[in-house]
Each structure stands twice: as C-alpha cells, then as structure tokens.
Assembly symmetry: C2
C-alpha cells in the first residue's frame, strides 16, 4: 500500500487525522476543538463525529501512528552490521518523529492526565522503546561504533530517552508566545538532536567518532545555550 493510496481523497478519516495533526502541532492540542478541525476540512461536525467520538479519540489514533513509526525505525538489521550512516539514519528518524508529533511531547502530562487508557499505552510504549533503543546501542557497539560497558549503555539509553521525550516541551516553554513560529521550533528541535549527539559523543568510536564534528554541525545552529537564550529573549517592541 503506497502513501498515495492511503491518502486517497475518499478517506475522510485520514483527512481528519491529517488536519488534526497539523492544527495540534501549529496551535497546541488545547487550543484546537473538533469544530476547528471540521471547519478546516469544510465538513460538518456530524460528519467528523461519525469517524471519531471525540478529540481524545483523534489523539489516541495519532498516538497509534506515532508509536508504529518509532517502533518501525528503531530496528537493528539482522543481516549486516550497523554503519555510521545507520547512526545518522536513526538521528534523522528521531528528529522526524519528534517533529511530526511535536504537539504530543510538548504537552505530554496534560494529555496523559486526561486519558487513563492513553497513559497506560504510553507507559508500555516507553518501556518498549527503551528496550528497542538499547538493542540499537548494542548493535552500534557490536559494529565498533560505540564503546561502553553494559552499565554505561543502559544509563546512556535512559538519558537519551529523557532528553528526546522532554526536549520539545522544554524548548517550547522557553520561547515567548510572540516569537513562536514553525521555523524557530524546527531550529530548536534540531538543536535537541545535537544535544543527543553530545550525550553519546564520549562513547563514539571508529567512523562514528571521526564524523562527529560533521554530525554536530549538521544539527546545530551554534552552541545550545546561546541558541536557547536568544530564542527565550522577548521581542523588543
């Protein structure tokens, strides 16, 4: 099944999800109602309710997509050793998934507090992701791209996760409302990938170590403290 087929004009359900995701990411889930989504699509609220009982149902389905995406890219190929290009691929996929579902991590505790079922599923997702992520780190170690004891690797995995899951909320909270816009959000999110690279840097070996400066530069718009402080400064009138 191709992406085009999935997004066929006939699929109102898919169009609702696309619109909701775009509006949630741009305006925050709290500020978007099902009526806004229906209006954005030019459909009646009744038509929307035919597909989703309420906004929580839409959030829940968007979480399904996000979960499947992360679980899909966090895999170690069985037929070959990992390369530093694979390492780059994981970083790009993390960036894309964080960006695609930024409304979710930006306001996580609010969303989980509202929906006990989602909270349970999120917890299972965190555990599964930590386990899959550890397999990836072990794969990188087997490939000679990373050197660390088991204890170091497990601690690194936890820190990587906490920074990944918290970054969007952290940086979004620092930017004054009048400066919030997609381009700044994206710059700050890339800076989060730079922070992940710095976190792993002491353990990188071989090709991963020799390309470190290049990888850092790819994701950063300067050192993070300076980028953050500049983003956090209110616009002068």
């Amino acid at each position: 099944m191709t992406t085009t087929a999935r997004k066929s004009p006939g699929s109102t359900r898919e169009r609702i999800l696309d619109s909701a995701l775009r509006l949630f990411n741009a305006q925050g889930e709290r500020n978007v109602t099902t009526n806004h989504i229906a209006e954005d699509l030019g459909i009646s609220p009744g038509n929307l309710y035919y597909h989703f009982r309420n906004k929580a149902d839409i959030v829940s389905e968007l979480f399904n997509h996000y979960e499947a995406l992360v679980s899909g890219f966090l895999q170690v190929p069985e037929d070959r050793v990992l390369t530093w290009q694979d390492k780059m691929g994981y970083l790009e996929s993390i960036l894309d998934s964080m960006w695609g579902a930024r409304f979710f991590h930006r306001d996580l505790s609010h969303l989980l507090n509202q929906d006990e079922d989602l909270r349970l599923r999120y917890n299972a997702f965190v555990q599964r992701t930590l386990e899959q992520g550890l397999r990836v780190y072990e794969g990188l170690r087997s490939a000679g791209l990373l050197e660390a004891t088991d204890e170091e690797l497990r601690a690194l995995m936890v820190n990587t996760w906490v920074i990944t899951a918290s970054w969007t909320g952290f940086v979004h909270g620092l930017v004054p409302p009048e400066k919030q816009q997609e381009s700044l959000d994206h710059t700050l999110l890339r800076q989060g990938i730079y922070q992940l690279v710095c976190l792993e840097a002491p353990y990188l070996r071989g090709d991963a170590a020799s390309h470190l400066a290049e990888i850092k530069q790819r994701y950063s718009a300067g050192d993070t403290l300076s980028v953050l402080f500049s983003a956090a400064t209110p616009k002068s009138a």
Copy 2:
C-alpha cells in the same frame, strides 16, 4: 534567624506554605484545594484568604522559596578551589531541592500554562540556573575534577538541566497509581541523581573519577532500566 524562629507558631503564613507544600507533594497540586489546606491546618478558609488570594498565590510563593534555594547552593566559593566533596554537595543539594518541590517539576507544564507571570519567572530562573550551573562546571574544570572543551561543557550543562527538570515528571508518569508512595518516589528520584552522575562520568578526572563507583552506588538501587521497569509494573491483584 534559625529555622525554628521562621516556623514560629505565630506565623500562619509560613504554616500555610508548609502545609500546601506537603499536600501538593503528596497528592499533586491539581488534587489539593485551598479548602484542603485550611482543613489540614484547622483554620477557616477566610483566614487562609487573608494571607493568600488563591492557590496560584501559594504556588508562586513556594516557587520563590525554591528559586532562592537553588540560586543559593549553585555557587562557586571564591576563596578556594572546588573539591570532589563539593561535587557531592551539589548533587545532594540538587536531590534535596528536587525532592522538596517535586510537585512543581512533576506537573510543570500544567502550572506554567495556568499562570503567565509564573511562566515568565520560570524562564528567567532556567536561564539563570543554566548560567550558574555552567560556572560550577567551570569551577570543577579549574579544579582538575573535570576535563571538557567549552563546547562540551555547555552541551553537558543543557543535558544536565533537561534531565534534572524532567526527571520527576518522567518517573512519576511511569508508576501506576496504586503503587505511588513516597518511598518509591524517593528511590526513583535518587536514581535521577545516578543518571546525572552517569551523564558527567566520561568527563570526570582526579578525585571525582576515582570516587565514581562510590558516588554511583550511593544513589542507585540498581541500573535505572531495571529499577524503572520494576516500578512501572502494575501490582498484581
């Protein structure tokens, strides 16, 4: 002025703050009303409102205390070089301050969303803390306890902050409601200090490096993934 004098029975204002902090930490700020606080103290709601206009006023004053505490311990002595015992002192102070105001970091986005003034003050606090923290790291480097380039140190500071500020919310969200209790919270919070130590570990030198195993052991109840997964498992009926 001693702590005893500050907590003199005459100071209803201080007693309200103490009670609110205790209840917020134990039950979550969302679940505690000003009436609960008044009831806990055996005073009338009217008496409470004489001292604080509303719950947001109490949260704001508790934040003042927290801010002063952090700003107070995150200092580099001017008359001597830092020792690894100082390094331990910073970790203990971080742990104490996180524990003392755990309601705050556990539900940060909710609190900041409700109160624009608090959000502005929190942002200024984050910037100041990052700057003070960087001075501490530089002090540790000057003392030969840490080796890192300026770039590495600045990235390390950001990661340290994100993990410190996010840890309480992260672990609290993983624990099923029926297992939530102070002793588990405290174990998980100490595990957060272990994660900070692991984050800094590759850069530690001298006495800080030679005491690393001891410092790790002091804060951990095992490796964090195992501790988290065990805490996240629902109690069987």
